[in-house]
């Protein structure tokens, strides 16, 4: 659906986007991750035909952004970082205007405005002036204008910025709902959002592409191994932490065992496997056969935050490793 190849955008003295390539399949939700100034907004502006690229190509639904911008614009819904709202208009008036602008006929416009108003939960304020709305409502009206013409592709720049936790959840649900019919590119700083909503992640730093993959794959690639969190209890009397640790280390495929703070007589460990080994089953058997209570066995992935920091800041990586070893 979206194909970006060798995209470069250069201004007089800076290179905002440097040779970025990625693809998005139909119906996917892709997260765009990167520190401030990385080039996310610029890339989105190129996709929505607001800015022309300096070199490279970008195609949406088969149409090139330079050759056929008109066709691309018909198929894209765009929500910039600050929603493009007219404060002197009422919500329904604004949505009617945007809908007509995007090509909805006057016969359908009333129905469509009603539908998106419902979908984005702005029904209570449909006759209110936009200038008087709260941030949450404005964001939702912005989202409504992005989906009003039922575009194939949605480009959302920080859609949950400034919303309260309840509204964030509602927006995420809405985006998830939309993903089947629409292809969505979502840029954000909020890492949990990418973890929850997105199937794939494109990480950008200083205009360059750093990584693009599914969240699960990225975790595996970077971790290279499995990590398991264990909680072990005793059916009779206190446990000898050293003995338990030793037993765990003997399980095949284990590379190291990191003990954590014990609590109320229960022991906690984080066990890391060698590259490419699966250790959960063996660990479970080892604990149970030794007569201990296996209270919890949980796979621990690298959090996206760790991935992000690792990929966008080599000096940060050193810090986290040192901390891990200490514990």
């Amino acid at each position: 659906m979206i194909k970006v190849q060798g995209l470069t955008k250069r201004y007089a003295r800076t290179v905002a986007v440097d040779n970025i390539s990625f693809e998005v399949e139909k119906g996917q939700i892709v997260g765009f991750l990167g520190p401030n100034g990385a080039g996310k907004t610029t890339t989105m502006r190129v996709l929505t035909c607001f800015l022309p690229p300096t070199s490279g190509t970008a195609t949406v639904a088969g149409f090139d952004v330079l050759e056929n911008p008109h066709e691309v614009k018909k198929r894209i819904g765009y929500l910039p970082e600050t929603p493009p709202l007219y404060p002197e208009m009422e919500v329904s008036e604004y949505l009617t205007f945007v809908g007509r602008l995007k090509g909805i006929s006057s016969a359908d416009i009333g129905r469509r405005v009603g539908e998106v108003t419902e979908r984005c939960a702005v029904g209570d304020v449909r006759n209110k002036l936009i200038g008087k709305l709260s941030k949450g409502y404005r964001q939702r009206v912005g989202l409504a204008q992005a989906i009003i013409h039922n575009p194939d592709v949605l480009v959302l720049d920080e859609p949950t910025a400034g919303l309260d936790p309840k509204q964030i959840i509602e927006t995420r649900e809405l985006i998830k709902h939309l993903s089947g019919d629409h292809t969505i590119i979502l840029s954000t700083h909020i890492l949990p959002e990418v973890e929850h909503s997105c199937q794939r992640v494109v990480i950008i730093n200083q205009g360059k592409l750093v990584a693009t993959d599914s969240v699960a794959n990225l975790t595996n690639r970077l971790r290279g191994s499995e990590a398991v969190a264990l909680e072990i209890g005793s059916p009779n009397g206190p446990l000898d932490a050293a003995a338990v640790q030793q037993r765990l280390e003997q399980v095949t495929g284990v590379s190291r065992v990191l003990p954590r703070e014990p609590k109320d007589g229960r022991l906690f460990f984080e066990v890391e496997s060698l590259q490419g080994r699966h250790i959960r089953a063996d660990l479970a058997r080892a604990v149970v056969n030794a007569g201990w209570n296996l209270n919890e066995l949980r796979a621990v992935g690298l959090s996206l935050e760790d991935i992000f920091l690792q990929l966008t800041g080599p000096e940060k990586k050193a810090v986290t490793e040192a901390e891990a070893v200490k514990v």
């Binding site: 600050t82 493009p84 002197e88 208009m89 602008l101």
Partner: protein, 255 residues
């Protein structure tokens, strides 16, 4: 085509949703009304005086009242037009809504024409108040309507030109005040050009005189429909809207 109309309607609604439209109409109505009162009062006084003196000069309402009034209206318009055009693009640039317009399936020239047309319609509403005054004259005398119509055509063409120039200047900045101020100075300059070169007939002076907005209006005020003047205004409008579209395009390279 219909995109132009959609944008034009939106501009008009915006104008009338804010005080600006009402202020402009009221201001113009008051000022023109005052000028109208003065002109007709002097006309009547002059008529009485010449009757008293037994001279019975042929009094021509058209020539002595309407023509100077139309000239007066065109001067007042000079002050109004910056107020109309200053927010056309500057506000959109400031609030970011220009991004919405430029990423929608609407062509740049449709946006420009829609906005210019909206401004022109507002200008027509403002001029309409003067038409009311002039219509009163028909109740008391028998002025010739054809020169009046041509005079208004001249006002509309002149206004259209200045509005197009104002639209261009509005694309250059995010600050409405700067846009308004610069437009005002440009309009003033174009108006003064005719004064500077009124008595000069050297080569360069003729060119400068040709560029003046006022020079070309004079024909219309007299009731003379000269194609040379019409062509001047139309080509100025086209040229101004063209550079406006270039300026809009340049926004894509600067952002």
């Amino acid at each position: 085509m219909k995109n132009i109309w959609i944008i034009c309607r939106k501009e008009l609604k915006s104008y009338f949703a804010s005080p600006i439209a009402y202020l402009l109409i009221t201001f113009f109505a008051l000022v023109f009304g005052f000028g109208f009162y003065t002109a007709t009062r002097d006309f009547v006084r002059f008529g009485f005086m010449s009757q008293l003196q037994g001279r019975n000069m042929p009094m021509n309402v058209n020539e002595q009242v309407i023509r100077p009034l139309l000239g007066f209206a065109s001067t007042v318009a000079l002050f109004l037009i910056p107020l109309i055009t200053m927010r056309l693009f500057a506000e959109e640039k400031k609030t970011g809504t220009i991004e919405l317009l430029m990423t929608s399936p609407v062509r740049d020239w449709e946006i420009i024409l829609g906005k210019w047309f909206g401004a022109l319609l507002l200008y027509l509403c403002v001029l309409a108040t003067s038409a009311i005054n002039i219509a009163v004259l028909f109740g008391f005398g028998r002025p010739d309507w054809k020169p009046i119509l041509i005079g208004y055509l001249g006002l509309i063409l002149q206004g259209g030109t200045l509005l197009a120039i104002g639209a261009f200047i509005s694309t250059l900045t995010k600050n409405q005040i700067i846009a308004g101020g610069v437009t005002f100075f440009v309009c003033l300059l174009l108006w003064l050009l005719s004064w500077f070169t009124a008595f000069d007939s050297t080569g360069y002076a003729s060119v400068v005189n040709y560029l003046s907005i006022v020079t070309h209006f004079e024909g219309f005020a007299k009731g003379v429909l000269d194609s040379k003047d019409v062509v001047f205004y139309l080509s100025m409008i086209f040229f101004s809207l063209f550079i406006t579209s270039r300026s809009m395009e340049s926004l894509r390279w600067r952002a």
